[in-house]
C-alpha cells in the first residue's frame, strides 16, 4: 500500500481518462469506428475498468448510469464516494485500495459481487440495502473479531465469502466458525465447503447458533407484527375511521379538556364518566364498523368499475389490433406487386387503393376510439351516480350516528350538572367529604358560575371533538370521491384518448411515408 504512494502523483478521474478508458475498452473493428465517429455516450457504457491508475478520489463517474460492472482495483482510493448514481451496478471491484470504512453503497441495491480485498477495513457496516449480494471478498483487511461476520447473516443470497488474511483468521477455527454461522455459504476463501466440514462446524457451534436463530426469529416475528399493525392503521385511515375502534375518540375528547379531567377526581363524577365512557365507546364502535363496511362497499364498487373499464378497453384494443393486422397483411402483399409492376397506370391504381385503404383504416381506428370514449364516458357517469348515491346514504348514516353521540354527550352533561350541583352544595355546606378535594378542584367549586363555566366549557370541548371527527369522516369521503373521479377523468378519458389519437396519427403517417419511400426507390425504374 505504500508503493507508488510517495513516488507518483495521484491521478484525477478526468474526462480524458474516462473517454480514453471507454474507447479502449469499447467495441473493436467496425463497431469501434462507428462508436468513435458517434462520440462517447457515457450513459450507454455497460462496463468500465479503471485499474492501476493511481486514482485517489472516485469522481465524475455519475454519468455512467447504466454501468453494471466497475473495476477500480489497484488504486489509492481512501473513501467510497460518488457511486450513488450507478444504481445498476452488479459488480464492483474496489480491491487493493486504501479504504478504511464501508460507506456510500446504499443505493447500489442490485450489487451482486463486491470486492473489498486488501484494504484497511475493520468493521462491516452500511450494507443493509445490498440484499442481492452473492459474493463478498473481504480478505487482507483489518477485521479482528470473528463475531463481526454475523453481520453477513442478513444476506440470504450470499454464497461466497473471502476472509483470509485478516487478523481474525489467526484463529484456526475461523472457517468452521464461518461455516456454522453463515449456513447459506457454499464457498469460503474460494474453496467449496465440504459436507464433513459442515457437520463438524455444526457440532461445534450448535448451541450458539441455535440461540442466534431463536433471537433472529423473535426479532422477525416482532417486525411482522409491527407490519400488520401498520397495515391495519393505513386501512383505518383509508376508511376514515381511525380513532373510532376503541376509546380513541373518547380519550382525545378528554385530552384537551382539563376541567373535565379535574372533575373526575370526585368519585361520583368518576363513576358517571365511566358509564358515559362505556356507552360512548360502544357508539364509536358502531360507527367504526359501519365505516369499515362502507369502505369495503366503496372498494368493491370501484374495483368493479375499474374492471369494467379494463374490459371495455381490452375489447376495443383487440378490435383495433385486428384492424391494424389486416391492413399490414394487405400492405405486405401489395408492396411487392408495386415494386414489380412496370405499368404506370397499374401502379397508380394500386397506390390509390393503398391510400384509400389507409384512410379507411384511419377512420375505422378513430371511429373505434370515439366509440370507446362514449362507452367510457357512460360508464364513468354511471359510476359517478352510483358512488354519489352511496356517499349520500353514507353521510346521512354517519350524521345520524354522530347525532347519537352528541345525544349521549348531552345526557352525560345533564347528569354531570346535577352531580356537580350536589357537590357544590356539599362544598357550600362544608361537609366533611369535601375535605378530601384538592386545591385545584376546590377552585372550580368556588361558586356556581365558575362551576357552570367549567362544565359548559368541557361540554363544548367534547362537542367540538365530535364535530371535528364527523366532519373529518364526511369531508374525507367527499374528497376521496372527488379525487378518484378526477383521476379517472384525467387518466382514462383525456390522457388515454390523447395517447391513442397520437398513436393512430403516427401510424398513419408512417404508413404514408413508407409508400413515399417505396416510390422514391421506384423512380429510377420508371424512367
Amino acid at each position: 500500500m505504500s508503493r507508488l504512494h510517495d513516488t507518483t502523483e495521484p491521478a484525477v478521474v478526468s474526462e480524458d481518462m474516462l473517454v480514453f478508458a471507454v474507447e479502449s475498452q469499447g467495441p473493436k473493428g467496425m463497431a469501434g469506428r462507428i462508436a468513435k465517429e458517434e462520440g462517447v455516450n457515457f450513459s450507454h457504457v455497460k462496463s468500465l475498468r479503471l485499474d492501476y491508475r493511481n486514482i485517489l478520489r472516485i469522481d465524475n463517474v455519475w454519468r455512467f448510469t447504466n454501468l453494471t460492472k466497475l473495476q477500480l482495483d489497484n488504486n489509492i482510493i481512501a473513501k467510497i464516494e460518488g457511486l450513488d448514481m450507478l444504481v445498476n451496478l452488479v459488480w464492483l471491484d474496489l480491491s487493493f485500495n486504501n479504504i478504511e470504512k464501508i460507506e456510500g453503497l446504499d443505493t447500489l441495491v442490485k450489487l451482486e459481487d463486491l470486492s473489498l480485498f486488501n484494504n484497511r477495513i475493520s468493521l462491516l457496516e452500511n450494507m443493509e440495502t445490498l440484499t442481492n449480494l452473492h459474493i463478498v471478498s473481504l480478505g487482507n483487511n483489518d477485521f479482528n473479531d470473528l463475531n463481526s461476520l454475523l453481520y453477513l447473516r442478513q444476506f440470504k443470497k450470499l454464497k461466497t465469502v473471502c476472509i483470509s488474511g485478516n487478523p481474525m483468521c489467526m484463529n484456526e477455527d475461523y472457517k468452521l466458525f464461518t461455516t456454522a454461522h453463515l449456513p447459506n455459504l457454499d464457498y469460503i476463501d474460494y474453496r467449496a465447503i465440504t459436507t464433513e466440514m459442515r457437520t463438524q462446524a455444526n457440532e461445534k457451534y450448535r448451541d450458539i447458533v441455535e440461540e442466534l436463530i431463536a433471537e433472529e426469529l423473535s426479532e422477525s416475528r416482532k417486525q411482522e407484527e409491527a407490519l400488520i399493525r401498520r397495515q391495519q392503521e393505513t386501512l383505518h385511515k383509508a376508511a376514515f375511521v381511525d380513532l373510532l375502534d376503541g376509546s380513541g375518540l373518547f380519550d382525545s375528547m378528554y385530552e384537551s379538556d382539563p376541567d373535565g379531567n379535574r372533575l373526575q377526581e370526585i368519585p361520583e363524577i368518576k363513576e358517571l364518566v365511566d358509564s358515559f365512557r362505556e356507552q360512548f365507546v360502544e357508539q364509536c364502535h358502531q360507527i367504526f364498523e359501519f365505516g369499515i363496511k362502507e369502505h369495503n362497499r366503496r372498494q368493491e364498487e370501484t374495483d368493479q368499475f375499474l374492471e369494467c373499464l379494463e374490459e371495455a378497453k381490452t375489447e376495443n384494443r383487440h378490435l383495433c389490433v385486428q384492424q391494424v393486422k389486416t391492413f399490414l397483411t394487405y400492405k405486405k402483399t401489395v408492396f411487392p406487386i408495386m415494386l414489380q409492376t412496370q405499368d404506370v397506370d397499374e401502379l397508380d391504381s394500386l397506390m390509390e387503393a393503398y391510400n384509400e385503404k389507409l384512410s379507411k383504416i384511419s377512420s375505422c381506428l378513430t371511429g373505434l376510439e370515439l366509440q370507446l370514449v362514449d362507452q367510457l364516458e357512460e360508464t364513468i357517469k354511471e359510476f359517478e351516480r352510483n358512488i354519489s348515491d352511496m356517499i349520500t346514504a353514507y353521510v346521512e348514516q354517519v350524521q345520524a350516528m354522530f347525532a347519537q353521540c352528541r345525544e349521549l354527550e348531552n345526557m352525560h352533561n345533564e347528569k354531570l350538572v346535577e352531580q356537580c350541583a350536589a357537590v357544590l352544595d356539599k362544598v357550600i355546606h362544608n361537609s366533611p367529604e369535601v375535605e378530601a378535594l384538592t386545591e385545584d378542584l376546590r377552585l372550580l367549586f368556588v361558586d356556581k358560575d365558575s362551576m357552570n363555566n367549567a362544565i359548559s366549557s368541557s361540554h363544548e370541548n367534547h362537542i367540538h371533538e365530535i364535530d371535528t371527527k364527523e366532519d373529518c369522516m364526511i369531508t374525507g369521503v367527499n374528497d376521496w370521491v372527488a379525487a378518484f373521479i378526477g383521476r379517472v377523468h384525467e387518466e382514462e378519458e383525456v390522457k388515454r384518448n390523447r395517447h391513442r389519437i397520437m398513436e393512430i396519427n403516427h401510424f398513419i403517417d408512417y404508413q404514408t411515408e413508407e409508400l413515399d419511400n417505396l416510390e422514391l426507390e421506384e423512380a429510377p425504374v420508371d424512367q
Binding site: A31, R33, N41
Partner: protein, 511 residues
C-alpha cells in the same frame, strides 16, 4: 424288457419282476387291485398311508431318449431357417428371428380387405435392435402414407414420422413429432412440404413457438457436388412474450428474408397500444470487419415506434443489433441445413444395435477374441521355431559322410551360412527400397493429377485427396525409417552370426 413283437399278447404283468419291468417304486410289493371298502377302513388306510408315505418316495426313471442338444444359434433361430409364416383370416403374419434380416425386421403383418387376400389394406412391420430406434412402421395402402414409430431414447427424440411412400427423400412432404421435453429446443412438431418447413415448439428456453422456413428454387451448380442444398429464401420465427423483459425489447416476430437481404422485426404490443413496434433492416452491402470506414445504418433501417417520443437508438446500437441479427441468421440457416442433412444421413444407414454382451454378433468383441486366439497361436509357433536348428540345412549335405565333419567341410558350412544371411539381408533391403520407390511414384502421380484438376474438384474429393496424401507420406516415412534401420543393423547381424558360428559346438573344434 419284454418282447413286444406280438403286441401285448405275451406281456407278463408281474410288476415286481425287475427283469421284466423297470424298477420304479421303492417297494417290491405288487399292486393289488383293491375292492371297495367300508369308510372306516378307508380312513384307517389313509392314516397308515400318511404314516408310511414319509419314507416312500417316487424315484423318477431315467429318460429313454437322449438329452436334447440345441446349440445357442439354433435356439436363437426359434424356428427352422428363422422364418415362419402364419395365415389368419384376411391377414398374414411373417415372423423373423432377430438379426436375421439386415434391416432388423422381426415381424410383418399384412392385412387384407377381402377373404381371398388379394387386395392389401395395411402392412405393419415390427423392428428390433435398430440403431435408429425404429420400432414399428405402418404402411397404409389406401392413402399411401407411411407412419414410423420410434422408441424413446432416440438421439433427436423423434417419436413419429409420417410421409408419403412414393417420395421418401429428405425434401418431400412429411410430418415429424418429437418428444419436446427431451429436446433442449422444445421442438414438438415439424412439417415439411416441398418448398417449406414449419416447426412448432413448446416451452423452449428462448420463447420460440413457431418457425417457418421457405425454400427457393435450387440453383444448378455444375461440377461433382450434384446434391447441393436448396437455397433458403425466408425464415420466419414467432416468439412468445418473455415476461421478464420489457416490452420494447420483446420480439414477437423475426423474419429473415434471405432472398431480398432484409430482416424484419416485429415486437409485442405495449399494454395500451394498438400498433406494434417494427424494424426493417436492409442488409448493407459488404458489411464486414475488414472494410474501412463506417456505415450509417439509419439509411438501411425503417423503424416504427407506436410512441413517437421514444428516443432513437444510436448508430452503434443499431450496428451491434444488426451484427447479432446477421449472426443469428447464419445460425438459423445452418440449423435448417443440419436438420435436412441429419435426416438424409439417418435414412442412408440401417445398422443394428448389438449388445456388448452378445459375443456372437458383436463384431468388436468377436474380433478381439479371434485376435487373442491368433496371438496364442503365434506364441506357440515362435516357441517351436526356437527349437529349429539354424545349421540343419547346411549340415544335411554332409550328413551322408561319417559323423564328424572335416575342417574344410566345416569352413564351407560356415561360409555358406554367412553367404545365405548376406543374401537375405540384401534381398530385404532391395524389397524395402523398391516399395519405397513405388510409393513415392504413386504420390507424385497423384499430386500431378491434383494440380491438373484442382479447379474442377468437389470438396469431398479434395478431402479424400488430402487424406490420401497424409497416409502416403506416412507410409513413405516409415519405409525410409525401416530402410535406414536395416542398413544399420545388417552388419551387426552378420557379425553376430559369425560369432555364433564360431562358438557353435559342432564347428568350434574345427575352426
Amino acid at each position: 424288457m419284454q418282447d413286444c413283437s406280438h403286441g401285448l399278447k405275451d406281456v407278463v404283468y408281474d410288476l415286481g419282476d425287475c427283469t421284466k419291468w423297470e424298477f420304479m417304486f421303492p417297494s417290491n410289493e405288487k399292486p393289488v387291485l383293491q375292492m371297495s371298502q367300508s369308510g372306516e377302513q378307508l380312513a384307517d388306510m389313509a392314516d397308515e398311508e400318511e404314516f408310511e408315505e414319509v419314507e416312500k418316495f417316487i424315484d423318477m426313471p431315467h429318460s429313454w431318449s437322449q438329452p436334447l442338444q440345441i446349440t445357442r444359434k439354433e435356439f436363437q433361430l426359434r424356428c427352422p431357417h428363422g422364418k415362419k409364416t402364419v395365415l389368419y383370416k384376411r391377414a398374414k403374419l411373417e415372423k423373423y428371428t432377430p438379426y436375421l434380416l439386415s434391416d432388423g425386421m422381426v415381424a410383418k403383418l399384412y392385412i387384407y380387405k377381402d377373404d381371398e387376400m388379394h387386395s392389401l389394406s395395411i402392412t405393419r412391420e415390427f423392428y428390433e435392435n435398430r440403431i435408429d430406434h425404429l420400432e414399428r412402421r405402418q404402411h397404409n395402402m389406401d392413402t399411401g402414407f407411411v407412419t414410423e414409430y420410434f422408441k424413446k431414447g432416440k438421439k433427436n427424440a423423434l417419436r413419429e414420422h409420417y410421409y408419403k411412400v412414393r417420395s421418401q427423400g429428405p425434401e418431400s412432404e412429411r410430418t415429424m413429432i418429437f418428444d419436446s421435453h427431451m429436446r433442449v429446443d422444445g421442438l414438438v412438431r415439424r412439417e415439411e412440404l416441398a418448398t417449406e418447413m414449419t416447426e412448432h415448439y413448446v416451452e423452449s428456453t428462448d420463447f420460440l413457438v413457431y418457425k417457418h422456413t421457405k425454400f427457393g428454387k435450387r440453383v444448378k451448380i455444375f461440377g461433382p457436388s450434384s446434391k447441393s442444398a436448396r437455397p433458403i429464401s425466408c425464415i420466419e420465427e414467432k416468439f412468445k412474450r418473455n415476461p421478464e423483459r420489457s416490452v420494447s425489447t420483446n420480439l414477437a416476430l423475426r423474419e429473415f428474408d434471405i432472398a431480398s437481404d432484409t430482416i424484419r422485426l416485429t415486437y409485442h404490443h405495449e399494454p395500451d397500444c394498438v400498433t406494434a413496434a417494427t424494424q426493417e433492416f436492409i442488409k448493407p452491402p459488404n458489411l464486414d470487419e475488414k472494410r474501412d470506414g463506417t456505415v450509417n445504418l439509419f439509411e438501411y433501417l425503417s423503424s416504427y415506434q407506436p410512441d413517437p417520443h421514444t428516443p432513437k437508438p444510436t448508430n452503434l446500437q443499431l450496428y451491434q443489433q444488426l451484427d447479432s441479427l446477421i449472426k443469428e441468421e447464419w445460425k438459423a440457416q445452418a440449423r435448417v441445413i443440419e436438420i435436412l442433412n441429419e435426416r438424409r444421413r439417418e435414412e442412408a444407414r440401417t445398422e443394428l444395435d448389438i449388445s456388448i454382451y452378445d459375443v456372437e454378433r458383436n463384431e468388436k468383441a468377436r474380433k478381439q477374441r479371434l485376435a487373442q486366439v491368433q496371438q496364442e497361436k503365434e506364441d506357440k509357433n515362435r516357441e517351436r521355431e526356437m527349437d529349429t536348428d539354424y545349421l540343419a540345412p547346411f549340415l544335411t549335405r554332409f550328413s551322408s559322410s561319417e559323423g564328424a565333419l572335416k575342417r574344410s567341410q566345416a569352413l564351407r558350412v560356415k561360409d555358406e551360412c554367412l553367404q545365405d544371411l548376406k543374401q537375405r539381408l540384401i534381398d530385404k533391403a532391395n524389397l524395402i527400397q523398391s516399395r519405397f520407390e513405388q510409393e513415392t511414384n504413386e504420390l507424385q502421380k497423384k499430386q500431378q493429377w491434383y494440380q491438373q484438376c484442382q479447379t474442377s474438384m468437389s470438396k469431398e474429393d479434395e478431402e479424400e485427396y488430402l487424406s490420401y496424401c497424409s497416409a502416403s507420406m506416412f507410409r513413405i516415412h516409415i519405409l525410409e525409417h525401416r530402410l535406414n534401420k536395416h542398413k544399420e543393423l545388417a552388419p551387426q547381424r552378420y557379425m553376430a552370426l559369425e560369432q555364433k558360428l564360431r562358438n557353435d559346438a559342432r564347428l568350434a573344434d574345427l575352426l
